[in-house]
Amino acid sequence: MRRLLVYFLFALSANAAVVPIAYRHRTLANGLEVYSIEDHTTPTVAIEVTYRVGSKDDPPHRSGFAHLFEHLMFKSTAHMKSEMMDRLTEDVGGAIHAYTGEDVTVYWEEIPSNYLHALLWAEGERMASLNVDEASFKSERDVVKEEFRSDVLGPAYGLLYNIAVDRDSYAKHPYKRPGIGSIEDLDAATLSDVQTFHRAFYRPDNAILIVAGDLDPKRFDAWVDQYLGSIAKPSTPIPRVTVTEPPRPAPRRFEEHGPNVPLPAIAMTWLIPPASSPDAEALRLLEAILGNGDSSRLHESLVYRQRLAQDVTVQASLRQNTGLFLLISTLASGKTTAEVEKALRAEVKKLMESKVPAAELEKAKNLVITAELKRRRETNVGKASAIRDAVVFHDDARYANKTLDRLQAVTAADVQQVAKKYLGGNPVVITYTSGGSK
């Protein structure tokens, strides 16, 4: 599950102004989008390669495949042995990560800047070819099955968060399938699926390279041209999901169960528009008003005053296509899901019926901005991610430096309007209680 991370550039007041992210952009002849941000504060760089393929693109009966594939990108290529990516990063004081979302798969490294040249070579290697053998394919698939157990089967609420919310919330769109997959679908995956998937999606015209930190622009450009610009652009079209999620004709309820659930939980979801919608900022503020901090409406009402809930999480999960507005709450001992549902609905209704007071809206803006500064400003990785989301969700990197104006422009009337428009729609309600079988 993943929330949209939109970047806010603006500071709270004039005396705390923040400079915009200064980036350079090139599109190579083979379609690769390249962004660089020069910053010599520390002798390190963050390298991020994003492929526009996510778990929504999992092949039929292969849920979890995009994520399994992400693991295989650490295996052998034409000129790299398995785990050589780790040798080139961890062994020299760097760190290496990858992440599979619904819409994108992101690979990133943080390395001492004197290894930038080597890492651009390596990213070119794995973009151009993968050469995975049967033994490492099977072993890595077992690792992913263990990840499934650690995320889904182990934690008491794993099934609810990682499987049930999306499965029950979407009727048609592939967002309904779990990104972590299922043991059966993972077992069905083959080595030839891996090559097919690489050919279809891992190509320069489906990728975004963002490098932030201690770099010299001229040399950087030359290395990018040499190692990534030389990769051919395939003539085949990139497969795209074209399914759209229909509006919900009626509210729906689901009863889900997991083993060893200590306290019942309840989730409510509504469909919201794509991340590129002009309503996105108001939805993020709605999220903050309802759920960000101890003084947020749901925390104050359900956790503090009425003591109905152990916790409440609110998420405006903005995606490339139809997203979800999600309320999810673990109950306090002795309370019922019906009581909590009633309280959640009462708070949602209030937002639709009356405008949020100015001070409360201001608080929500301040919280969102400060959190974004921490997440998107402090590190090279954070800055790169700000550019990435602007490019992925808005096809426009400038959005990273523009959003704050749009956020500041949101009025109490906008928030009310968005609450009515989306939370006034048909909810899906999921109750989650202890039970032997899933």
């Binding site: 102004a17 398995s82 961890e90 004197n114 040249h117 182990g154 060893n260 301040n366 400060t370 402090e378």
Partner: protein, 460 residues
């Protein structure tokens, strides 16, 4: 001419090996400054400008270590109650006031300290400092709020005891330390039920004193401004340093092999654990290098053998919990229930290998680089910087260690690693395996005939 031709040819060919690194550039390390107010409060400032944010931490140098034996978790309950009402403001006002600034306010306790943490934009720091001081100096520990928090904490513990990684570490502390001071892992349902308002007030009176506290400010703030803010908000704070915590000298019990049965658990977790090192132990650098080789990350031996070669786990790790005294050294691996015994065998084999054979020099060099890189990255955020200088100050380690850390890690030799591993890993560890016991109890008992089975419900 020939050289030029060679260069041209090389450029035309695909490079089959990664280009070599260029010369490294020096790392810039922060230079925190420490001062002490007349009332004994230590103030540590680590400047980092560029982003208008500050991480503020008020540390009390007493945590769960100072809990009375019959009230484990008193430190964390006391800290959690700070924000629930002061002499002038209600819990709701406290939350609202801080959040209007866009700031966060958090409080809690670990073994060696209690803390109040504020993250805020630098322009709002003066206001936020006022709120921080209010909750530290003027909490009221009101009964109604205590009752509310008590119920919440009990529910949290209920949830936690069904969460395998948490459950197993609770069980491990009890097995490894028994009645010795580190034998508990904080609040239990029983202690939460037993705590009274007077207990919290007594803890606060005794330990929340300026001479037992450290104020850390990291980020967009100058030392002059920090000192001014510290004096303004904490200058009138009074109180003597606390008497030392009464020593509870108890020897850790003999190692055991314990299976914690949680029927229908979707996975098992295998833990090897034994007493480790104090943070101030001079062997700290060699211990870190040893751990990095054994189980400190994705490139460690445990990860290589258990995850990469055999696909038995998503993550296989070992870790020290460095505390004022020797906290545990543990290895922990989540795996499917059926693989628990195999994983235990693999952990044991790797611990034996690192103690018996010196690690190859290139492996040691690579893991040292990882440690040094992690250290540098931890200083990129205000929170990381505040954490580091706060810990140094807490353990009364010279702040100059920041500038010597890289060198001290770099100087560790393979022979030192082996010798250290040999000392640390001598004798049996305790082994704790939690999961759906029926799926692994037979195979584990084959290897460890003395393994005991306890129900998950017996873990407090």
């Amino acid at each position: 001419m020939i050289a030029l031709l060679f260069v041209l040819l090389a450029a035309m060919q695909v490079e089959t090996t990664p280009p070599p690194p260029e010369p490294p550039r020096p790392v810039q390390l922060p230079r925190p400054v420490q001062s002490t107010l007349p009332n004994g409060l230590r103030v540590v400032v680590a400047e980092k400008h560029g982003v208008p944010l500050v991480a503020a931490r008020l540390l009390i140098a007493s945590g769960n270590e100072a809990d009375p034996p019959d009230l484990p978790g008193l430190a964390e309950m006391t800290a959690a109650m700070l924000t629930k009402r002061t002499t002038t403001r209600s819990a709701e006002q406290i939350a609202r006031d801080i959040e209007v600034l866009g700031a966060t306010l958090d409080s809690g306790a670990d073994w060696d300290s209690s803390f109040v943490a504020v993250d805020v934009m630098s322009s709002r720091l003066p206001k936020a400092m006022g709120y921080m001081a209010d909750v530290v100096l003027h909490p009221t520990f009101q009964n109604e709020e205590l009752e509310r928090l008590r119920q919440q904490k009990i529910d949290t513990i209920r949830v936690m005891l069904k969460l395998l990684p948490k459950l197993v570490l609770r069980a491990a502390a009890q097995v490894v330390y028994g009645d010795a001071p580190y034998g508990h892992t904080g609040l239990t349902i029983a202690s939460a039920e037993a705590m009274k308002r007077e207990d919290l007030i007594a803890f606060h009176d005794r330990y929340y004193t300026p001479a037992n506290a450290i104020l850390v400010l990291a980020g967009d703030v100058t030392p002059a401004e920090a000192t001014r803010l510290a004096e303004e908000h904490f200058g009138s704070w009074k109180g003597a340093p606390p008497a030392p915590v009464p020593a509870r000298e108890a020897k850790p019990p003999a190692p055991r092999v314990v299976i914690v049965d949680l029927p229908n658990a979707g996975q098992a977790v295998v833990v090897f654990s034994r007493p480790g090192l104090a943070r101030t132990d001079p062997r700290y650098p060699v211990a870190q290098v040893m751990n990095a080789i054994l189980g400190g990350g994705l490139s460690s031996r445990l990860s290589e053998e258990i995850r990469i070669k055999r696909g038995l786990s998503y993550g296989a790790y070992s870790f020290f919990e460095f505390r004022r005294k020797g906290g545990p050294f543990s290895a922990a691996v989540l795996t499917k229930n059926e693989s628990a015994a195999e994983v235990a065998g693999l952990i044991a084999a790797e611990m034996k290998r690192i103690a018996e054979d010196p690690a190859p020099a290139d492996e040691v060099a690579a893991r040292k680089a990882t440690l040094i890189g992690n250290f540098g990255r931890s200083l990129e955020t205000n929170a990381g910087l505040a954490q580091l200088v706060g810990q140094l100050s807490l353990y009364e380690i010279n702040l100059d260690e920041i500038r010597h850390y890289i060198e001290s890690v770099d100087s560790v030799s393979p022979a030192q690693v082996q010798q250290f591993a040999n000392e640390l890993l001598a004798g049996r560890p305790s082994i704790i395996i939690a999961g759906d016991a029926k799926k692994f109890v037979d195979s584990v008992k084959k290897e460890f005939p003395d393994a005991e089975v306890i129900p998950a419900s017996s873990v407090k």
